[in-house]
């Protein structure tokens, strides 16, 4: 059976034009997707049911036991951490935030190790954003700063920028100017009209210099700024000012380098400055397919986008203090529920060491590095493949992902709803509203 217009649940491009062939509850073909997306549809490595480690290996446990163990762990902790969320639906994310509130825990998402700094900067100076459709149809100058879309978001250039004709650009490849800024030559830099080769950690200084240049204050700019010549900076300033419509995309090369959110603030203020001359917008290249969704849901529910501490019953937010990496590295939590992510594969050693010392439950479709640190793993359906759900694209557009297979796994949201219900039952909360 050929399924048309399937949404890809890999990265935050959320390509919604995939053709997927399904035969007998198995994906046999994926067209239009990039290699990364196609691989996810055909990946295996699924556990048959909930498992717990024993001295001899792993034992199967029932779903009821697994949920009971999770509830016991969360209710007995003095400072539980609930982390992950980037590869599941907003419906599951909403339940996770409500669970954190019920148990007085801290809830954080993978945002804190990717584009959390972007949100901090946006809270300081706002977000001159737009949809990717605007970029596709209008942008004649595109900047990719600290990101490598050809390898990380492979269809970004063909769907929205260099290789995609738009309403106002009949021959996009010729009419668009592509600028790539990075600390090393990348595949994306190879196709750029202009490559800005920065020294590592030089982003803030280069962005400051560009802001001054766009304002016409060129006098104090030295001959080189972080490896970039003054002549190139002046040239880029002119290209940006003369654009009909400019789009600034940035990745973790900017958010997670020295200076962090101040780099993003500087980029936003450069875009602000350029808007005195022409139209410019800025969009973070979000990674996981629904990491943006968590920020949306968390903001609706708590007023804050991630790293929310409910220890005292009300929401408190302070990245650097209430973010998962900091809490784990400082050994401040005494239990951890991981949902739809793999912290053991990505967190610093000190944080992972603490994961090994405390009770950990993981709700995730596949065996991953965090599995080795778990006291229990509950396998669930993959949102967008064997479970439906809503996700947010990198530009903040919500897209409903379909269920295309039925492999018998429960969705994350089903497991989380049972956990939530049991927590409320044990706490004798009388009224249970549907979430």
């Amino acid at each position: 059976m050929l399924l048309k217009d399937v949404v890809c649940p890999y990265c935050a491009c959320l390509c919604d034009d995939l053709d997927v062939t399904v035969e007998g509850n198995r994906v046999t073909g994926v067209d239009n997707a990039c290699d990364l997306g196609a691989h996810k549809f055909q990946a295996g490595n699924r556990l048959p049911g909930p498992v717990r480690p024993t001295e001899k290996g792993w034992d199967r446990v029932s779903r009821e036991e697994a949920i009971g163990f999770t509830v016991d762990m969360l209710l007995s902790a003095d400072r539980p951490l609930i982390y992950g969320w980037s590869t599941t639906s907003v419906e599951a994310q909403s339940l996770g935030i409500h669970i954190a509130e019920e148990i007085g825990g801290v809830v954080d998402a993978t945002t804190s190790v990717c584009h959390g700094p972007s949100i901090l900067a946006i809270q300081e100076v706002g977000h001159p954003g737009c949809t990717l459709g605007q970029v596709k149809n209008r942008a004649d100058v595109v900047i990719y700063w600290g990101c490598n879309p050809i390898e990380a978001h492979p269809r970004h250039l063909s769907r929205y920028t260099m290789y995609s004709d738009g309403f106002f650009l009949e021959n996009a490849f010729k009419e668009r100017t592509l600028i790539v800024a990075d600390i090393r030559p990348t595949e994306s830099a190879n196709v750029a009209d202009e490559f800005v080769h920065l020294k590592r950690g030089g982003d803030y200084a280069v962005l400051s210099a560009l802001r001054a240049i766009v304002r016409g204050k060129t006098g104090s700019i030295p001959s080189h700024v972080a490896g970039v010549s003054r002549a190139q900076l002046l040239r880029i300033g002119e290209v940006c000012k003369n654009a009909k419509y400019g789009a600034f995309f940035f990745g973790m090369g900017l958010t997670q380098t020295v200076g962090k959110y101040k780099n993003i603030r500087n980029a936003i203020e450069l875009v602000d400055e350029l808007n005195r001359h022409t139209k410019w917008t800025l969009t973070p290249m979000r990674g996981h397919f629904n990491v943006y969704g968590f920020n949306e849901v968390c903001t609706w529910v708590t007023g804050y986008p991630y790293a929310v501490d409910f220890s005292r019953g009300m929401a408190f937010y302070n990245p650097g203090e209430t973010t998962a990496v900091d809490i784990l590295a400082r050994k401040e939590c005494d239990a951890c529920l991981v949902v739809a992510s793999d912290p053991a594969a990505h967190f610093p050693r000190a944080a992972v060491e603490h994961l090994a010392e405390i009770p950990v439950v993981q709700i995730d479709p596949v065996v991953n590095a965090t599995t080795a640190f778990c006291d229990l793993q509950i396998p669930v359906a993959v949102t967008g493949i064997d479970a439906e759900g809503t996700a947010y694209r990198m530009d903040g557009v919500p897209i409903r992902a379909k269920k295309i297979l039925d492999l018998g796994y429960p969705a994350d949201s089903e497991i989380l709803r049972e956990v939530y219900q049991q927590i409320r039952d044990r706490k004798k909360v009388r009224e249970v509203k549907p979430v």
Binding site: D78, R79, Q123, G201, A205, H224, V225, K262, R265, N318
Partner: protein, 257 residues
């Protein structure tokens, strides 16, 4: 009045305790105080051995002394307006948040956000301070507005972020981007730092050591001789990326070119 709080051993000593109730005024009022250990509210006497000597007619006459391991105790001295808090060892995050008066003396190190959004009073830290000393809360437009924050050791990154008044003195080195977004007030760094005062619009920052990665958007104005030692300083104005009129005075500097 002298209140001596000696921290008792805890079953989970790394779980943070939020203790904003520890300010001199509350002890003079004789209130039953509680603190939060993770998500559990505890009586102060569950966490500390409490010894009270004499009485006080006003909060100004109260000294609170913290002994034992309080390195994970946050928000001590929050909204403090009078009296003195002496911490004999290290102290956790947010010590002296929003304080308007009185003195906090820390004999050890202080964790992040020391003197966050301070409005008055004095904090003296004999050791090192973590990131964001004298800064603002996330998204705030103003950090410290008044008072004096003196750190005898080193400070972490983003010290005096959004500084809007008062004085911050760092006798050791500061980390990256001290005085970033500074709008007013005085920041003095006796040691070295990197990229000071990015995006500043006002105030004065003096670096008596070496600046690494001097930002290219500061305009060299003049030179001066600083203090009784007549230390030669180069005076810059900026940040011109932000129409800034701040003053940055540095002894030695190098660009990241």
């Amino acid at each position: 009045m002298r209140v001596i709080l000696t921290a008792k051993p805890r079953k989970k000593p790394l779980i943070p305790v939020e203790a904003e109730t520890i300010i001199p005024r509350h002890f003079r009022q004789g209130r039953d105080l509680t603190v939060w250990e993770g998500n559990r509210e505890r009586s102060l006497r569950d966490i500390f051995d409490v010894m009270v000597e004499r009485t006080a007619a006003a909060a100004e006459e109260v000294e609170v002394i913290l002994r034992g391991d309080v390195s994970r105790f946050k928000r001590v001295g929050e909204y403090m307006d009078a009296g003195k808090i002496t911490i004999e060892g290290d102290i956790g995050m947010h010590c002296g948040n929003f304080m308007t008066g009185g003195t906090i003396e820390i004999h050890g190190n202080a964790d992040g956000w020391l003197g966050r959004e301070m409005r008055g009073g004095r904090i003296l830290c004999h050791g090192n301070a973590g990131h964001y000393a004298g800064s603002g809360y996330r998204g705030e437009k103003f950090g410290m507005k008044g008072g004096t924050l003196e750190i005898l050791g080193n400070a972490g990154d983003f010290a005096a972020e959004y500084l809007a008044g008062g004085e911050v003195i760092i006798h050791g080195n500061a980390g990256d981007l001290p005085g970033v977004e500074m709008v007013n007030g005085t920041l003095t760094i006796h040691g070295n730092c990197s990229r000071p005062c990015g995006n500043m619009t006002g105030g004065t920052c003096t670096v008596l050591g070496t600046v690494r990665g001097m930002l290219p958007t500061f305009r060299k104005n003049s030179t001066l001789l600083h203090g009784s030692d007549k230390i030669p300083l180069t005076v810059f104005e900026g940040d011109i990326a932000n129409r800034g009129k701040g003053i940055l005075q540095v002894r030695e500097y190098s660009y990241d070119d």
